[in-house]
């Protein structure tokens, strides 16, 4: 199938190095300590963060650092056909773990010993790149909750179809079965905290695809920073100072 036309347009009209439209909103769940909705095109994810709070299960409590837990779910209505998604299937367990590890790497857990941080992410609408969207939403929610972090961890995916590196694959491109590189990245520290890939790629091509994904992460980070800044301004304004 032709994913990039000879005119250089992808199926949805983007060029190979363009991302989908981003949108983020902070404070979607008022009960949570921090929350955010994050959209990448038609992929829409909500994240809620509770904590730091007392550890529920004493056996899991750690005396030198905080316990980070993460739960990833997909809403029944998130895809076109309405199928009941069993909780705790392999895929969501894996993604939960991926998100937890990525977030744990940037949260300063040693500042909050004997406590627990819960991150809940739910996919409201899925159109490819849910993993990246969840990480971005979780970052925002953590920031909203005021949990100390080393940096804003952001994520973006990139693929390689029709011998062209493509940024931010949507569902159609994702299901082509080609290579799909998801990168989690700390922009300030210039460090990669997550790197996953489906399928395979020659090493030299892989490097360019990964570099593209990193560029995507940087763009996401800029946007998140703007959103957070705007949010802070709003808070400041509401306090009336």
């Amino acid at each position: 199938m032709e994913f990039v036309s000879p005119e250089g347009l992808r199926l949805d009209g983007r060029r190979p190095l363009e991302m989908r439209q981003l949108r983020a909103e902070i404070g979607a769940v008022s009960k949570a300590d921090g929350s955010a909705v994050f959209e990448m095109g038609n992929t829409k994810v909500i994240a809620a963060v509770y904590g730091p709070r007392e550890v529920e299960n004493r056996a899991q409590q750690m005396n030198d650092q905080a316990l980070v837990r993460c739960e990833y779910t997909m809403a029944n209505f998130s895809t076109g056909d309405r199928v009941r998604k069993p909780k705790g299937d392999r895929r969501s367990t894996e993604i939960s773990m991926v998100i937890r590890q990525t977030m744990e790497a940037c949260i300063m857990t040693h500042l909050m010993p004997r406590s627990q941080i819960d991150i809940f992410v739910q996919v409201l609408q899925a159109d490819g790149g849910t993993r990246s969207a969840c990480i971005n939403a979780a970052t925002l929610a953590l920031a909203d909750a005021g949990i100390p972090m080393r940096d804003l961890v952001t994520s973006c995916s990139a693929g390689y179809l029709n011998t062209t590196p493509l940024l931010d694959l949507n569902y159609v491109e994702d299901s082509a079965g080609g290579p799909d590189v998801t990168v989690g990245y700390l922009p300030k520290l210039d460090k990669v905290t997550l790197l996953q890939m489906d399928s395979k790629l020659p090493l030299d091509t892989f490097e360019s695809v990964m570099q593209l994904a990193i560029e995507g992460c940087k763009a996401v980070a800029n946007y998140l920073r703007e959103v957070l800044l705007e949010n802070t301004k709003q808070l400041e304004y509401r306090r009336g100072s």
Binding site: S5, P6, E7, L9, L11, D12, G13, R14, R20, Q21, G41, N42, G80, D81, D127, N170, V172, K200, P202, T205
Partner: protein, 932 residues
């Protein structure tokens, strides 16, 4: 700007789901006109002095692609909405359009109107997709006119009246194709126009045509919805229609739903379906199944069978025809039916000539003519031409446009002229076109990939650690006489321990053809060199084929070598693969090599090597035969060609010598060794060659013939078949060969495949009785060997595996293309031999002996061993369908006179007379008649 597109779609499971897709609109899509000041003109394709810019609609592209391909039409804007629609409707037209758009000589520009901010249109409520697309085209045209201003006229071309009317209302200039072409003032272009097939234009003529006045010849095709439900309910059966090569009024539809082939008799039942169309068939009630004989006296002038070459495998052999004649009721007949609808058309363009006809009164005006395709499976095609006088004695190419139920023949339009009928070059060109062989010279980009000439082995090659210096070995090559593209050479030395070191050295083509280069793309497209009688169409440019890669004598050449240690009992102890530098000491022909071996006075080292290898080869060959390899026979003929006129001087069977078998044996061994090595390293992406085991049905014609002459063949395995073929010795020396030829014809062809696509038991090569096989030994003339060279180089670690091998679908598509090209090359080779046979016999009527190979109701098919041709001999006059005078005995495969005075058995020898006759002017054919 973001738009979202949403539509409902039915999934495979039958569920209806709503799909929502993002659709981005952009402001950085440029108009492609050089005169435009606002747009980026670096990608512009439309020239600056264009006075008119054409925008075509979908139906114009679909129907008039031949016109668009003509260089008179230029400055065309192709909208992405049109491209998309064309892609969905006809992929081959889409590919042709894409080629046009990427051709730098032509001024075709693709405008992505669907993603342009100002030309995107959203479907309105209750607007059909067709109407929306038409509106999108109009909006884009309007935008162009506004964007470019009054300096340029933007013209929309459409044959849709409604669309044209709306365009005129909106102030867009619009014209039909006909009026536009007329305005260009080139009458020859009008021939290229497809006859209006779209209902819009025919509409008004239909009304006054009153169907009662014209006879309805074909029944109506069922609407698609009815066909789909019919297929679901099992009333109709879907399959690809294949027309009998020998009788164009009989066709078969291989249907999966009833697991058998449905026979379709006559054009009326075929109901306007062409060969290769996917059709829906309705079965007749069982009692009508054998009501029609396979030979039917159709209303049309029935053409008789022509003389042709013998087939080399089942794939191109005629379908075993249905039981014929009087014995029909004793054997179960096959289901027959009629076509009720065409699901997918397989129309393309065809080569042929116009049926001779008198010039119409008003010369220069429009004449209607009938076109007869060279491919007999294609019905005559009605065309309209303004240059009838020019075309009558020419070979032309015609494309089919439509076939309505009121006309007996489909209508089409002229595409191009090839040359004079009967001219050898024209006819060769026809052969090439018919077999889709690219004989154009290599492009400059391809030639730019060649190393500079004169080329020689440099110090760099010698110092390469991956390349072994084997120049000290006494390497030689044995090939057919006059061979210029020598791709294999051999050596054989006696080792101190009494074993032999035998090497097969293959031209190192991959050293020059690198993956991803234009040269490589071209080679993979061509797939194989094509050998015609008087000409060779190379896969690689001549400098590579005949010089740089060719392992000629006394020059240093690069090679890829397989070196074995072989015991005197011909057991391979070890094998080794390496790139090398060799220097051949002798390039012999088979005859020379054979003469050396036979001449007992010669004891020079080269002759000794030859003899040693011959001894080994004989043992290996025997061992292979013991394993069950089939020695199949094919009737290959060889021409002697006049060097001046290129006319054939003599014709005879190709003689196979021991030297041929010796070389063949080592090539087989090399191929097997390489296949094992490569598959071990790359189990999922190797390119191998397999030969499927023939099914019992495929061997049925052989068994029937064998039974008729009292021969019992065991076909349970290749070994059993090989043994029983060996036992099949009659009192006649040619009997065994004949049986082998018949057996060969029942087999399907060997094919290339990607090892990941099949499971290991399916890798079997039946004919060679080898569990693994591939092609390694002729990289100059076969692309598969180039692929294998790259795999082998990667498996011994001297180069990286090209990225393409990680893409299995792409590898599979390469294998499919190679199979297609390989088969076409063979067909073209045969067609070329047939052509030369005809030229040869034109001046030399001959009497010779022939064997009966098949019995027909009104004669039999004979095989002429001396010339390797096959053709029909008629016992009754044409038109007289064997009215009881001759009876066919299906069981004993014989045809005898009603009073049993004369009887012809299958495999019997008869004497025949061969002569070229011209029943119609410009249509010579070879006729065989009995002389006894």
């Amino acid at each position: 700007m973001l738009q979202s597109k949403s539509f409902v779609k039915k999934t495979k499971g039958g569920k209806v789901v709503k799909v929502v897709r993002e659709h981005y609109l952009r402001d950085d899509i440029y108009c492609g006109a050089s005169i435009c000041k606002t747009c980026d003109s670096s990608v512009a394709r439309l020239s600056s002095d264009a006075s008119t810019i054409i925008i075509v609609d979908t139906n114009v592209v679909l129907n008039q692609i031949d016109l668009l391909e003509n260089s008179a039409i230029d400055e065309v804007v192709v909208l992405s909405v049109v491209l998309e629609e064309v892609k969905n409707k006809n992929l081959s037209v889409y590919n042709r359009l894409r080629t046009l758009c990427s051709n730098s000589q032509r001024k075709f520009f693709v405008f992505s109107n669907e993603h342009h901010k100002e030309t995107y249109v959203k479907a309105m409520v209750n607007e059909s997709p067709n109407d929306r697309n038409d509106r999108a085209i109009r909006v884009a045209t309007q935008w162009y006119q506004k964007h470019l201003g009054s300096a340029v006229r933007v013209l929309m071309i459409t044959n849709d009246r409604e669309n044209k009317r709306k365009a005129n209302e909106e102030g867009i200039s619009a014209e039909t194709v006909e009026s536009y072409v007329k305005s260009l003032g080139q009458p020859a272009l009008l021939d290229l126009l497809a006859r209006p097939a779209s209902e819009d234009v025919v509409m008004d003529s239909v009304e006054d045509l009153r169907p009662s006045k014209r006879k309805v010849i074909y029944s109506e095709h069922k609407p698609m919805s009815e066909i789909t439900t019919g297929l679901h309910r099992g009333i109709y059966h879907q399959g690809k229609l294949r027309v009998n090569r020998y009788n164009p009024f009989e066709a078969y539809v291989g249907s999966e739903s009833i697991g058998d082939e449905i026979v379709i008799h006559g054009r009326t039942n075929m109901n306007r379906a062409f060969d290769g169309d996917v059709v829906a068939v309705e079965l007749f009630p069982q009692d009508q199944w054998h009501a029609e004989k396979s030979r039917i006296a159709d209303e049309e002038d029935e053409e008789d069978e022509s003389v042709h070459l013998v087939q080399s495998s089942a794939d191109d052999a005629p379908r075993s025809t249905n039981v014929q004649g009087s014995s029909a009721d004793t054997t179960p007949s096959r289901p027959s039916g009629c076509v009720v609808g065409v699901i997918k058309r397989n129309w393309h363009s065809y080569c042929g000539s116009l049926e001779p006809m008198p010039m119409p009164a008003g010369a220069g005006g429009i004449a209607h003519a009938l076109f007869v395709s060279k491919d007999r499976r294609i019905p005559k095609i009605r065309i309209q031409t303004r240059q009838l006088g020019n075309l009558l004695d020419k070979r032309i190419v015609v494309a089919v446009d439509s076939w309505d139920r009121l006309s007996r023949y489909p209508s089409g339009h002229y595409v191009q002229t090839i040359g004079e009928i009967g001219d050898r070059e024209t006819e060769t060109e026809v052969v090439l076109i018919e077999n889709d062989i690219n004989s154009r010279p290599f492009s400059s980009q391809v030639l730019a990939c060649l190393p500079p000439l004169p080329w020689s082995v440099s110090a760099e090659h010698l110092s390469d650690p991956n390349r072994e210096d084997l120049r000290h070995l006494q390497v030689f090559s044995v090939d057919p006489p006059g061979c210029r593209d020598i791709d294999d050479a051999l050596h054989c030395t006696l080792l101190p321990n009494g074993n032999f070191a035998v090497g097969v050295h293959i031209a190192d083509v991959t050293n020059f053809v690198h993956p991803g280069t234009p040269l490589d793309d071209e080679a993979s497209q061509r797939g194989t060199s094509v050998y015609l009688v008087e000409r060779r169409i190379d896969m690689l440019p001549k400098p590579l084929t005949e010089d740089i890669c060719s392992l000629r004598s006394d020059v240093e050449r690069l090679a890829f070598s397989v070196i074995w240690e072989i015991t005197p009992q011909a057991d391979i102890i070890s094998s080794r693969f390496t790139k090398s530098v060799i220097k051949s000491c002798a390039a012999m022909s088979y005859v020379e090599a054979q003469a050396r071996m036979d001449d007992s006075r010669l004891v020079d080292p080269l002759t000794t090597d030859l003899r040693n290898m011959n001894v080994l080869a004989k043992i290996m060959r025997q061992r292979r035969i013991d394993r069950g390899a089939l020695t199949l026979a094919s009737a290959e003929v060889k021409f002697q060609i006049d060097t001046e006129t290129h006319d054939p001087l003599d014709i005879g069977m190709y003689q196979i010598r021991e030297a041929n078998q010796m070389v063949e044996e080592f090539m087989l061994a090399a191929n097997v060794s390489v296949a094992e090595k490569v598959l071990k390293h790359f189990p999922f992406c190797s390119m191998l060659r397999r030969h499927p085991t023939p099914t019992r049905e495929m061997l049925e014609p052989l068994l029937r013939t064998a039974a008729a002459v009292g021969l019992d063949l065991d076909v349970s395995s290749s070994k059993a078949l090989a043994d029983s073929l060996d036992r099949a010795v009659g009192n006649d020396p040619y009997f065994n060969k004949l049986i082998r030829i018949l057996a060969t014809r029942c087999m399907s062809q060997a094919v290339y495949f990607c090892s990941g696509d099949l499971s290991p038991p399916e890798y079997l090569h039946y004919g060679l009785a080898a569990p693994l096989y591939t092609h390694f030994t002729s990289p100059i003339r076969r692309y598969a060997d180039v692929v294998i060279h790259r795999l082998l180089a990667a498996s011994i670690g001297i180069s990286k595996l090209p990225a393409i091998f990680q893409d299995r679908p792409q590898l599979t598509s390469i294998a499919d293309n190679l199979n297609y090209r390989h088969r076409n090359a063979q067909m073209a080779g045969r067609a070329s031999v047939e052509l030369h046979t005809l030229i040869y016999f034109r001046k030399r009527p001959t009497d010779t002996e022939a064997r009966i190979v098949k019995i027909r109701s009104n004669g039999f098919i004979v095989f002429v061993p001396k010339y390797g041709i096959e053709g029909p001999v008629y016992l009754t006059a044409r038109g007289d369908n064997g009215s009881g005078e001759w009876l066919v005995d299906e069981q004993h495969q014989q045809v005898k006179k009603a009073d049993s005075s004369i009887c012809y058995n299958v495999l019997q020898m008869v004497r025949i007379h061969m002569e070229v006759v011209e029943p119609q002017p410009n249509r010579p054919k070879l006729e065989l008649t009995l002389t006894e």
